[in-house]
Each structure stands twice: as C-alpha cells, then as structure tokens.
C-alpha cells in the first residue's frame, strides 16, 4: 500500500487567519496543554520518549531522551531554547510553519517547559524573516492574554515567560552551542562539549535546545497518544514530518508525511520532475548531506535507511536537480556558502572551507587540473571529523559524494577548459546569462596560490 500524506502540523494552514489564537483554539489548540498540566512532568518526558520523537532539526537525537539528560532540579533556573534559526540550504519547513501557525509552537513550548521544569523559554529566530518575527511576537502577546503563558498558567501554579529573540544573520547560530553564545550576546561560535547544554547551557544552566518542528510535534503526542504517533513512520523513525520539495519539481512545497516515505512517492505527489525531465541529483536533508541520484528514489526517508544508503535524513530538505544542472556549479556554490559561514573558530573549517571554495571555483571556471580533484578530497579528509562542530563536516558532504558520483563531469570542466552546461537551461525562465560585476570574486585564474 502506498504511503499517503498525514497533515498534522500543516492541517490548518489554509484556514482563514490560521496564525491567530482564535483559529488555533477552534482546532482544539491548547487542549494538549490543559491535559499536560494535569500530569506529572516526568510522565510527559516518558511519553515523548516512548513516542520515539527524534529531533527534527537534522541530527535525529531522541527528543525525550534529551529532556531526560537534565540533572535533578537544584532550585536554580532551567531553560528551554527553541532553535528557530532555520538556515540549512534547502530547508524551508520551520519558517512557513511559524508563519502559518505560531501558536502550535507556543503550545509545544509550554508543554516542554512544564515537562523539564523551565520557567523562562526562548525562541531564537533567525533575523532574516521579518514577518515571521511579527507573527511570533503577536502570538506570544495573545497567549499571555489568554493565560497560556505568564504567571500561573491556566491556574496550574506553573509560571512561564517566553522571549522571542531575533538573530542577525549567521548560519552557524543553528548549531546549538553557537546559538546559546549568540543568545548570550556574543559572537555565535560553538562551544566545546562536554559539558553539554543539558548540564551547562544558557547562562551555564541546564538547558534543552530543540528544533521548532520537534517542539511543535509535542502537543499532538500529548493530545493523541504514543500509539497514535507510532502508528506513523517506522519502528526507529516514528511519526510524521514535513518534507520540503524544491527545485526542478512540478509542484514544489511542503508535504507532511510519515517518516519512511520515498522520494519516488513524494515526486509522484508533486507532479514529478519538471517537464518530464530526468532526476539527476538531490539532497535528502539539505546541503550538508551527501548527494543522492535517481538510484536512490526508493530509499525510505527515515534516519536509518538514508544513513544505510550513505547519506543523512537531515532536515528532509529535498532539493531536486534535473539533467540541465551542472553539478560542479551546484557544489561550488555550496562550498562558497560554507566558506562564508565558517565562524573561524577552528582551523580545519576556517582554512579548509576557504581552499575548497578556491579550488572548486577554478575547476568550475575551466581552469582546474586533474590534481585539483585529489586536492579537494584531501582537504575534505582534513576537515571531516577534525572540525570543532558539524559545519565543517557538512561542508565536505556534497564534495566527496559529488566527486564519487560525477567524477566525469568534474573532469569535463578540466579537460574542456569550461563549463559544458548552459546555466539558462536550468533556470525557470528564458534569459541570456551575463557575467555580473562582482561574480569575478571567485573562479578567476591566478587567484589561487598567487
């Protein structure tokens, strides 16, 4: 039986003014919080553990287990910090979720805070989404006014303040310890672990950092139960998730489905690759995950299966590229991104991403040598596993997988002395490409080692 979509978080997105508290309450919003407040906090932790909810921000760490790592209360503050810094290239699920229904996130925040004994929660939103910040600020106002937040939440005796905090443009702040440094008013650079945030997080106090979609999934588990959640997905990758299709697909968008659905099934729902073209390569979970090709159309999109096939489920950011796309161009652009976003704290990432960008730039421009390919692989080898955080690891994913899958295309740039692809063919509109005034920053001969 084919898998079908299971709208849970997205269920109300087409309702009139779906972002408002009225619409959310009409849909049963905050019933889960009412129920949660009647239960012992420890039962909620157990419930989320038993449900098998795993972190929806990329790594897939079990959410309930993360909560349970907090040390026993010592009378001091404990914090929940929601990671709403969605910036992984290709990832576009949390932002539309918060735009259309910020209240479900706040209900999740309230339940999670109660479960872990937190009285002040923070939502760290990337700064580059103005209207989402407006919606979150308004949602918090509305929730306070109705007693879902603030002193004595719904008469339970539980107090909860929520602060929505806007970042200021830095991909690295999606890394949870960099996010905490940023939230403390510092440069967003990752911290050495251990200690983990559970022990010494925000202001060196016990802290849970969870992704938006993870937290927003909590109310549905509390409302509908562990068995309900586990009736979707696979044994080890339970539940539903937002799958984000983008790129050369007929109907790009958000498709909420059980984990374990395949790209073949999703593409079928989305009208296939545009113009009946062939699928050339895709990312299962953003630009930090190794590339897949049309040979991977039937890999179940759950943590285990994608891992076994050599990539990572990541954020379920399915970026689809058809045969008109130059894979060298795609990978070079991602490499430029990582070089730009490397925080500079550790040498392998700071220097390594710089050189990856330079070498890829000259290959793309047709000035590379055969030796450059081994240089790339060698640099990747020196970054992967040797960087301070996962940003460096992620920078190598598409390069090593891309060379393994499309070595002949890299070589064609080298032997042909130019890119064999027409960039206009991969665009959505007809145009004649021109070289922009500052594109020459990369890929020019003579800049490397000069």
């Amino acid at each position: 039986m084919a898998t079908t979509l299971t709208p849970v978080l997205s269920r109300t997105w087409d309702v009139n003014r779906s972002w408002g508290l009225d619409a959310y309450e009409r849909d049963g919003g905050y019933d889960a919080l009412r129920k949660a407040l009647t239960l012992p906090a420890a039962d909620l932790v157990t419930m989320v553990k038993d449900a098998g909810l795993r972190g929806r921000g990329g790594a897939g760490f079990p959410t309930g287990l993360k909560w349970s790592f907090l040390p026993a209360p010592d009378g001091g503050p404990r914090y929940l910090v929601v990671n709403a810094d969605e910036s992984e290239p290709g990832t576009c699920k949390d932002i539309p979720l918060m735009m259309a229904n910020p209240q479900v996130l706040l209900e999740g925040v309230a339940i999670t805070s109660y479960a872990i004994g937190c009285n002040h929660a923070f939502i760290y939103l990337r700064g580059e989404v103005l209207h989402v910040y407006r919606r979150l600020l308004r949602a918090v106002e509305e929730a306070y006014a109705k007693g879902y937040l603030g002193k004595d939440v719904l008469g339970s005796g539980f107090d909860l303040d929520v602060t929505v905090h806007a970042g200021a443009g830095a991909y690295i702040c999606g890394e949870e310890t960099a996010l905490l440094d940023s939230l403390e008013g510092r440069r967003g650079q990752p911290r050495l672990k251990p200690p983990f945030p559970a022990v010494a997080g925000l202001y060196a106090r016990p802290t849970v950092v969870n992704n938006v979609e993870s937290v927003a999934s909590v109310p549905s588990i509390v409302a509908n139960g562990v068995d309900w959640f586990r009736s979707m997905g696979t044994e080890k990758s339970a539940g539903y998730g937002l799958f984000s299709l983008s790129g050369h697909v007929t109907r790009p968008g958000q498709y909420e489905a059980p984990l374990g659905i395949t790209l073949r099934e999703l593409l079928d729902m989305a009208g296939g690759v545009r113009n009946g073209n062939r699928l050339k390569f895709w990312t299962p979970g953003g630009s930090s995950t190794p590339l897949f090709t049309d040979e991977h159309l039937d890999v179940p999109l759950d943590y285990e299966s994608v891992g076994a096939a050599g990539s990572m489920l990541g954020t379920r950011a399915l970026q689809i590229f058809d045969e008109t796309t130059c894979v060298v161009r795609a990978i070079t652009r991602w490499a430029e991104f990582y070089a730009h976003e490397s925080c500079g704290k550790c040498t392998p990432c700071r220097e390594g991403t710089y050189w990856l960008k330079q070498v890829l730039g000259r290959i793309e421009a047709g000035h590379g040598t055969q030796e450059d390919l081994s240089v790339l692989l060698d640099v990747c080898d020196n970054i992967l596993g040797r960087s301070f955080c996962a940003l460096g690891d992620g920078a190598t994913s598409t390069i090593t997988s891309g060379i393994a899958l499309f070595r002949d295309e890299f070589e064609a740039h080298i032997t042909g002395g130019r890119c064999p692809f027409d960039p206009a063919a991969s665009a959505l509109f007809d145009h004649t490409p021109r070289r922009s005034r500052d594109r020459a920053l990369t890929g020019t001969p003579g800049t490397v080692g000069a």
Partner: protein, 275 residues
C-alpha cells in the same frame, strides 16, 4: 562620509533609546543577551551600526566598545556603513541560483549600477547576494527588508526596485501589506512590534501544496484512539474524513546507526554521546 549621517546621541533621541534599551534588557535574565536587539535598535535610529551606537550599547551593558564591535562585525545584518532605505537581497545559494537567482542578481546589478553590498546613489537600494532564506520551494527568492518576494524573474525584480525607488508602496508575496523601511524593520527586529502581524497571508501556494493534495485525496493523519485503518475511500471533505491508510509500507526498513545530521544540530559523531 558617513560618520555624521545620524543625529547625535543626546536629548530626546537618547531618552528614547535609553527607554527602549531598558525594555530590551528586561526581557532577559542577563542584560548582555540584549546586545543583538540593541544593535538592531541602533540601526533603527541611524540606519547602520554607528560608532556612537556602539558606544551606546557598550555603556548600556557595561561592555567595552571593542566587545560590542566584535559582536557587531560577526553578523551580516549589522551594517558598517549607512544602508539604503531598502535592502534588496537576491538568494544566490545553489538552489535559487540554479533556478534563476544568478540571472536575477545580474540583472538587478546591471539595472541599478551597483554590486554586492553597494547602495544606489539615491540612497534607496542596497543590493546584496543573500544566503538561503528558508523559502526554497518558492525559488528563485528575493528579500526586500527581509520580507519574502517569491518566484521572481529578472523582470519582476527590476519592477520591484523601480517602484521602491519611485516611492510606491510595494507588497511582498508573503508578508505585511507593504514593505517598511530598513529603519522600521530594524526596530521590529529589536523586539518592538509594529502591529502588522495580522497583515498578509498565512501561506503561499507552495506551503499549501501537500495540504491541498491531501484534501483532494481525502488523506489525513490517523484518528486518535483509532480503530484499525479504514479501507473505504474518504470523502474530499478534508479533516473530517476518516483516515484511509494505516501504517505506511516502510516499517521494516533495515536499521543502521544514524551517521550524523546537519549544521543545525551536533553531528558527525555517535549520537548516543550527544546530549
């Protein structure tokens, strides 16, 4: 040229800033957490992070100006020279670039006569290449003062900047009913609501693509306390319909340890050791 392009930090302006800064710091257990909001606040007054603005943040939080500068220079949204009234950012990360973002950026750059992080002579537009802005299903994407302009073309993008330069009200695809100025935006990012949250749509077409299909097919999540999955075809009535499917077909997939994740979360190691 820029050092005197803003009002001095005195009188009413200083009082206003001190009042706002007190509110911003009150949101946090540790006042230093308000540094990012305060830098946005400074930009809302001066149009960039001015030297006096840095000194104001330092004085407010008991930091050195070097400490404040170190933070301000880390984040791309903080501007070191006066910004235009509108930041126009074209996504040229891979997905958008391939779908046409490169062509849009090139067209705008030619049309406006400025390159990355440069401002038109009339002070209206600062052009930027921006990184992925979490709207890939609307590629190619352009941001104007961090409001979404989805599914752009070179023509639509040049039309937007022409209207902005002409002083017209311009509506984003998903956002408020018109884009505000860089200074107004910065004030919101400092945490001061402008009351415009209820403007604009909840979602665009791509956001709703899966939901629309589910409605059309009568697909829903399983009902709670459910009964075994029903085999009958559901009506297209949407969420009132019973689920047509139970457990998906992929429950017996081979298990393997996850090998990591993305930079959103700690990875690349044994996740069981991650807290």
């Amino acid at each position: 040229m820029a050092s005197t392009a803003y009002e001095p930090y005195e009188g009413e302006k200083l009082e206003r800033l001190e009042r706002d800064a007190a509110e911003a710091t009150s949101r946090y257990p540790d006042p230093r957490s308000a540094l990012l909001p305060l830098l946005h606040l400074v930009q809302s007054e001066d149009g960039y992070v001015s030297p006096d603005g840095i000194a104001f943040c330092a004085r407010t939080l008991g930091l050195s100006t070097a400490e404040v500068s170190a933070v301000a220079t880390f984040y791309t949204q903080y501007k070191r020279h006066p910004n235009g009234e509108y930041t126009v950012g074209v996504c040229t990360n891979t997905l958008c670039a391939v779908m046409g973002g490169d062509a849009i950026y090139d067209e705008l750059s030619e049309h406006l006569g400025v390159g990355h992080d440069e401002t038109t002579e009339d002070g209206k537009i600062t052009l930027e290449r921006v990184e992925c802005n979490a709207a890939c299903d609307y590629a190619p994407v352009m941001m104007v003062n961090w409001e979404f302009f989805d599914n752009q073309t070179p023509t639509s993008a040049t039309d937007v900047v022409d209207r902005l330069r002409a002083g017209e009200a311009v509506a984003p695809t998903r956002g408020a009913s018109s884009v505000c100025s860089f200074k107004q935006m910065s004030r919101v990012l400092a945490g001061f609501s402008d009351g415009r949250a209820d403007e604009g749509p909840a979602a665009g077409e791509a956001t709703l693509a899966g939901l629309r299909l589910a409605r059309e097919k009568g697909w829903t999540a399983p009902l709670p306390d459910a009964t075994p999955p029903s085999q009958e075809e559901a009506s297209p009535a949407g969420k009132a319909a019973p689920p047509t499917r139970g457990r998906p077909s992929s429950t017996d997939t081979p298990a393997a340890p996850p090998t990591g994740g993305t930079a959103d979360t700690p990875t690349g190691r044994d996740p069981s050791k991650e807290a």
